[in-house]
Symmetry: C2
Subunit: 568 residues, 2 copies
Amino acid sequence: MQPTARLTQLHQLPSGVRELLSRDTIRACARSSPSLISHAAAGPCYRQHVGASSQQKRLLTISQLDSGRDNRERVLILGSGWAGYTVARELDSKKYQAVVVSPRSYFAFTPLLASTSVGTLEFRTALEPVRTRRTNVSFFQGWADGVDFKNKVVTIEEAVDDPTATHALTDDRHAGETKEERKEEKKVEAKKGKLFDLTYDKLIITVGCYSQTFGTPGVKEHSLFLKDVGDARKIRSRLLACFEAAALPTTPEERRRQLLNFAVVGGGPTGIEFSAELHDLIHEDLARLYPELIPYHKITVYDVAAKVLPMFDEKLAKYAMDTFKREGISIKTQHHVQELRPGAPGEKGDEGGARRDHMVYTLKVKEEGEMGVGMVVWSTGLMQNPFVAKALGSVYELPSSFKRLEAGEGKGNPDNLLWKIKKDQKTGSVITDSRLRVKLVGEKDGDQKPEAILKDVFALGDCAIVEGTSYPATAQVASQKAYWLSKRLNKGDIEKAGFTWKNMGVMAYIGNWKALFQGGEGGNISGRLAWLIWRGAYLTKSVSWRNKILIPTYWLINWLFGRDTSRF
Amino acid sequence: MQPTARLTQLHQLPSGVRELLSRDTIRACARSSPSLISHAAAGPCYRQHVGASSQQKRLLTISQLDSGRDNRERVLILGSGWAGYTVARELDSKKYQAVVVSPRSYFAFTPLLASTSVGTLEFRTALEPVRTRRTNVSFFQGWADGVDFKNKVVTIEEAVDDPTATHALTDDRHAGETKEERKEEKKVEAKKGKLFDLTYDKLIITVGCYSQTFGTPGVKEHSLFLKDVGDARKIRSRLLACFEAAALPTTPEERRRQLLNFAVVGGGPTGIEFSAELHDLIHEDLARLYPELIPYHKITVYDVAAKVLPMFDEKLAKYAMDTFKREGISIKTQHHVQELRPGAPGEKGDEGGARRDHMVYTLKVKEEGEMGVGMVVWSTGLMQNPFVAKALGSVYELPSSFKRLEAGEGKGNPDNLLWKIKKDQKTGSVITDSRLRVKLVGEKDGDQKPEAILKDVFALGDCAIVEGTSYPATAQVASQKAYWLSKRLNKGDIEKAGFTWKNMGVMAYIGNWKALFQGGEGGNISGRLAWLIWRGAYLTKSVSWRNKILIPTYWLINWLFGRDTSRF
């Protein structure tokens, strides 16, 4: 179907709809494949998966999005983490219409989550809502479900009421469904208005990663994570409940010891900082509220590796381990967690029933056997986002943003090849060029496969790596990429020079007002001074003035009066 | 069994237990009936409902409670609301050992809950944990389940993991069970360590009330309340979800109107203040974030009475109604809500399934028929606490604190009568004398029934009324009673003069920085000045320094930057 045919069809639309169709949106829609056009009456830049009868009514928000777009390009950003949220804020709203699609309505300032999980800070001091007074960013709360690169359309599954979205993700939310089942389900969702499409001019993929559990039985179900604010809230509630339950007169001594046995799996910065914050909470606050229970508590960090904090040099890691030792936190390296199940060792776990009263769990460690624990916090790294595996696969029809790169051989018609998105073999991450553009690789026999890029599709954050680099999957890299990309897009000079990461150093809080700081170009600091740097850096980095005021207020108040231990 | 026999038995106890038994606790236990003594080996002042084998282990917390008691009387306080929390804090810890038993681990400063439900204040600014560094109050998280007045023992059902405890209560948690079923269940709970007993020297009953729904179908299940912090959190999350859902491109115009139709049932101060806060949130904040949605929203207050705010005089109530009218909030008096069910009018409600996606509800109002609403906040007053009806019934054996009052006739042996706790016929509240002591009435034919009091059992707060008075069921009355009682107990002069309530006036926030203030002895103020009084009063009344600092900080920050709208 040609653009002119599309234009003719428009006369059949209600007048209100016609008025909203600007030249740009018509151009955008005209790119649609014939199969899409039949649905396109629902609106210029989004296709509704339902019948045409009720569609006029549903235009409001998207049509305003379209009319508010003027001559700007629409940049659709998938995700609201360090990469996506930063790009959305930094893009020049005179040039681009930024639209964020994310299952979470906020950005989580992840380095402060450990502090919020014990009440050193209040949860909201680590959050910034995507919709704010000060920016012009549009937002839809949903999961990206599929991408049509040819027609520049993303299918979105709404997530307004999805309770999983504010927690660490460990499973594809459609796991266990076959392709056919999901297809059927999609039809139902579309009918219910749970699925909709959004066109883009530029697509920025920042969907992040899921939490890795290595398939360890029971971990997904029973351990707590520390990747989002919902996790932090669960931890805060659970650990106070463990103390309250241990303080019941009916709690036997052995059960008391189990309830207050806290296991942290993973000796990276998250696991170490959480252990340190937990130690502070217990010794600074709970020791005054439950003095008789303190002898029962225990904090243990498990890691399969030979040392914790692998990103720090030997000396700093040793300082951390010595500090933990003095503070009474055990670090058990080269230990393998094998299972986590509800109920104490030797108990049936299912006796609890509806009122979740199997108050303790059994943790099975290869080197130690089974033990009762009150809580396991799991932080062993990242798993690739199922969206990357499922939705970012083959590119069946080439979009106009396709650009064949020089390849020794195979200079034939690219349409004769099936192009796939290039992925890192080990992590499954999307591979980009140094301009953060998604790379394609042609399916062809022989050693040297032809390569291409999608000029208008970018990937950054934990789900992507720049080809030939090994930048870590950290907030720092994601944030630097985001600043770089938005600057290039704002200036329109993406070809000028590629992205390079500047290592600004690593930090970790290790409890008792001490921290580690390892500068990007050497220079190690540990102890109280590093702690001041830690606090200063995160206060500086925190986004809004609201939080720049609230964070030190809470630091001061909790230092003066202790952390709040109300549990609700 | 005599005290001496009890003392002999003690030699069979493990040595650690013996040491902990002070003279006082032995005296307290010696009052126990024979049926109790067989279990009493579990500890001096608590009976464990399980076998004797594992009991030594379980002593820790209670035994410490007992040993820390010294020569003080134990005052057991049931509840942590305005009455209970205040008494616990005010009692002289040199004279009394205060032990609070409550299903909530905190005190909720209820007048600020409406502010927290829209984010004007953060939730925790309206909370004070019962366990604090600054007081010596002991605490067990549980529901009072029964009282043995004769032996001065309260049976407690632990509530550490009870998710209902932080929300408004509408139903007896054992509703639907027969007496026999509950009895069986209790045996299981006792075995699991979920049930335990605690002795007292003085008992203070401040269990409060449940929320009244008048049996209106669907209200308990689907409406939101505003009686505790869990309710406030649900409301904040729900109303932001309504806006986010309305902003989805797939949401039809009619559904958008339903989602943003907010109904408040009950025109008392809670309903009016919540409506005002909701109006502020929408007009001060959401109007900037969802400008296109504002025309769709609607706030309506329903009340069966002819006027709202019945405790205010005509002029102030009219001022409130005029202000609401200008602000666009409808007040519909003499309207009767008949039903609330999930799903829009004409829809089946159960189509949602697990992902709670029946996003709207149908509210049926007698005078208006059915309408779709996004949220109903229910605040129509109080229902008597089932504990008062069930546990506070007859007194089968008279305790030593029994004191027969002068009654015209019936001077016979009181033991020949069945004594019942005197209740208010209309509300079912416990009736106390002017010293807040629980009154008994003897079951006897004839007009003039003999009366008595329990000298060591007090009742205050919403579950009790002083005989012959009609003090309202407010925080003010509860708090004044609590201060009066703790003062009398501290001074030991309970007989000196009875309690009288001093009306300090009533206040209500009505939105847009305006309030009503009606002084106790006349003197009405409305508008901005009343609003200043409102804020000043609650800031002064708030308990901890933490909250005295945080509350104005949030007021300032939200005025400067807007309320936080992150939803998790």
